[in-house]
């Protein structure tokens, strides 16, 4: 049975990915920052509560000696104009969105020869939205790293970068995004997770642009 590690699994896209891989019969190790008791639905697979910016050891200790797939999905966003970002906000986003996945990838590499690592970016990475300047920069940084890492590790570990667009998860509330009408168009996390798992299975990078979001919003409205 192939084994997958999913980070940021307590909620949102990560949680939906756990369901997709469970249905496909994978062995799963899930990790998130929330304690097990705080999960909304109990998870059937092993779940390791862990803050990846502090100590990765609990996750590494829970993993088998050989891992087929790692989905490095944990991330954090904050909305607001640049002047409203504190030093702490910026440091946290860099730590969780960039430094943690890179250092985790470094630690996972020895047990993943022949496997795949999928990094979850964001369509925001290209920049140019005034209220997502720092978040977008951290996702662009992650994508910049994985693009070069894919070249370094080619033939050893497949490195994929997947950019979801606006998804109906708890991240936007945590990020401080208001109750915009546009949020009704955001794609459901289970649909996004299925698309991402499909891209991973095909070994392709994927960007879920506005066309993807609108297609699924229309499909939902017709139902």
């Amino acid at each position: 049975m192939p084994h997958v590690l999913i980070t940021g699994a307590s909620d949102g896209i990560g949680r939906a990915l756990v369901n997709v891989y469970a249905e496909q019969g994978w062995a799963i190790t899930a990790t998130g920052r929330r304690p097990r008791e705080a999960l909304e639905n109990p998870m059937t697979c092993p779940y390791v509560p862990c803050d990846l910016t502090e100590d990765m050891a609990p996750v590494l200790d829970a993993l088998p000696p050989r891992l087929d797939l790692a989905i490095l999905n944990a991330g954090l966003g904050k909305v607001g104009p640049p002047e409203a970002h504190s030093a702490e906000d910026i440091a946290q986003m860099i730590a969780l969105n960039v430094t943690a996945p890179l250092l985790l990838a470094q630690k996972l590499m020895p047990r993943m020869e022949g496997g795949a690592m999928a990094f979850i970016g964001s369509t925001a990475a290209r920049g140019a939205h005034r209220d997502f300047s720092v978040y977008a920069a951290t996702k662009a940084a992650l994508a910049g790293a994985t693009r070069s890492l894919a070249l370094e590790w080619q033939g050893r570990v497949q490195v994929l970068t997947l950019h979801p667009g606006p998804t109906a998860t708890g991240m936007h509330d945590k990020a401080g995004l208001g109750n915009l009408a546009a949020r009704r168009l955001f794609t459901a996390p289970d649909i996004v997770a299925e698309t991402l798992a499909g891209a991973i299975a095909r070994g392709k990078n994927r960007r879920l642009g506005p066309g993807y979001m609108l297609r699924h919003a229309l499909r939902g409205a017709r139902r």
Binding site: P81, P82, E83, A84, H85, S86, A87, I90, A91, I94, V98, T99, L102, L103, A105, Q106, M109, A125, R126, G127, A128, H129, R130, D131, F132, S133, V134, A136, A137, T138, K139, A140, A141, L142, A143, G144, A145, R147, S148, L149, L151, E152, W153, Q154
Partner: protein, 245 residues
């Protein structure tokens, strides 16, 4: 009105500080390397940009006509051979510090009404950079930040990102896989690079790719990313057997 150049003790930052000083601007040259600052003719400030107090120390020089974030370090070699704390240091100086400083300068209203925020990125945003994963990460982050910032700034202020290729600096000599006469001769002169950058900033351009060679490489990266990646993997990564920090 002050023009701030970070990383001004050597390389491109130094060339920018000297060129601006020669033009008559009031330049504040900032670096953590005190020795390198001593020989500059302009005002200098010895400062570690990753320190918590750094944004306030720069905001004290308001109104700021222009700040060029030129300070940067790299680390080349196989990704897994570079120590974790060095990856973190690269991100802290190259990406976290300029974003923190920018946000703090805006919050403190320290910029002149037509002030310029300029970030020294890298050609790697167009080409990729196997052998310098966290450096490429930091520079792609800066390019994205500059684009968003342009939308977020008060009317009148300007944000630009600069994408230089290899230059004849200590930085290049330190991180390149080799320093043979041929490689060194191919690197662009810093004085020329500084001149093109300042011209671009004066024209308030948002994207500045200094020099013909860098512009050509950037286009190659856009038109043929696969081929460019292969060339860089062979020419850089495969020669970097030992990490260079």
């Amino acid at each position: 009105m002050t023009t701030i150049i970070t990383g001004a003790a050597q390389g491109l930052g130094r060339a920018l500080a000297l060129a601006l000083h020669a033009e008559g601007a009031t330049v504040l040259a900032v670096d953590r390397d005190e020795g390198g600052l001593d020989s500059l003719p302009c005002k200098t400030l010895h400062l570690d940009l990753t320190h918590d107090d750094a944004p306030a120390a720069l905001a004290a020089h308001a109104p700021i006509a222009c700040i060029i974030h030129s300070a940067g370090i790299s680390g080349t070699g196989p990704f897994e051979a570079i120590p974790a704390d060095h990856h973190a240091r690269i991100l802290a100086l190259n990406l976290t510090a300029p974003m923190r400083i920018t946000c703090a300068l805006l919050a403190a209203d320290a910029m002149a009404p037509d002030g310029i925020h300029a970030f020294v990125g890298s050609l790697s945003t167009f080409t990729g950079y196997p052998g310098a994963v966290s450096y490429a990460a930091s520079k792609d982050g800066l390019a994205s930040f500059a684009r968003s910032l342009a939308k977020a700034l008060p009317k009148g202020q300007h944000a630009a990102c600069i994408f230089p290729g290899p230059m004849a600096t200590d930085h290049a000599a330190r991180y390149a896989p080799d320093n043979t006469d041929k490689t060194v001769a191919a690197r662009q002169n810093v004085e020329d690079t500084a001149r093109i950058i300042l011209k671009g900033l004066a024209a308030r351009r948002r994207i500045i790719i200094p020099g013909g060679k860098a512009t050509f490489m950037a286009r190659m990266g856009q038109i043929a990313p696969g081929l460019t990646g292969k060339v860089l993997r062979k020419g850089l990564y495969e020669k970097l057997t030992e990490p260079r920090l």
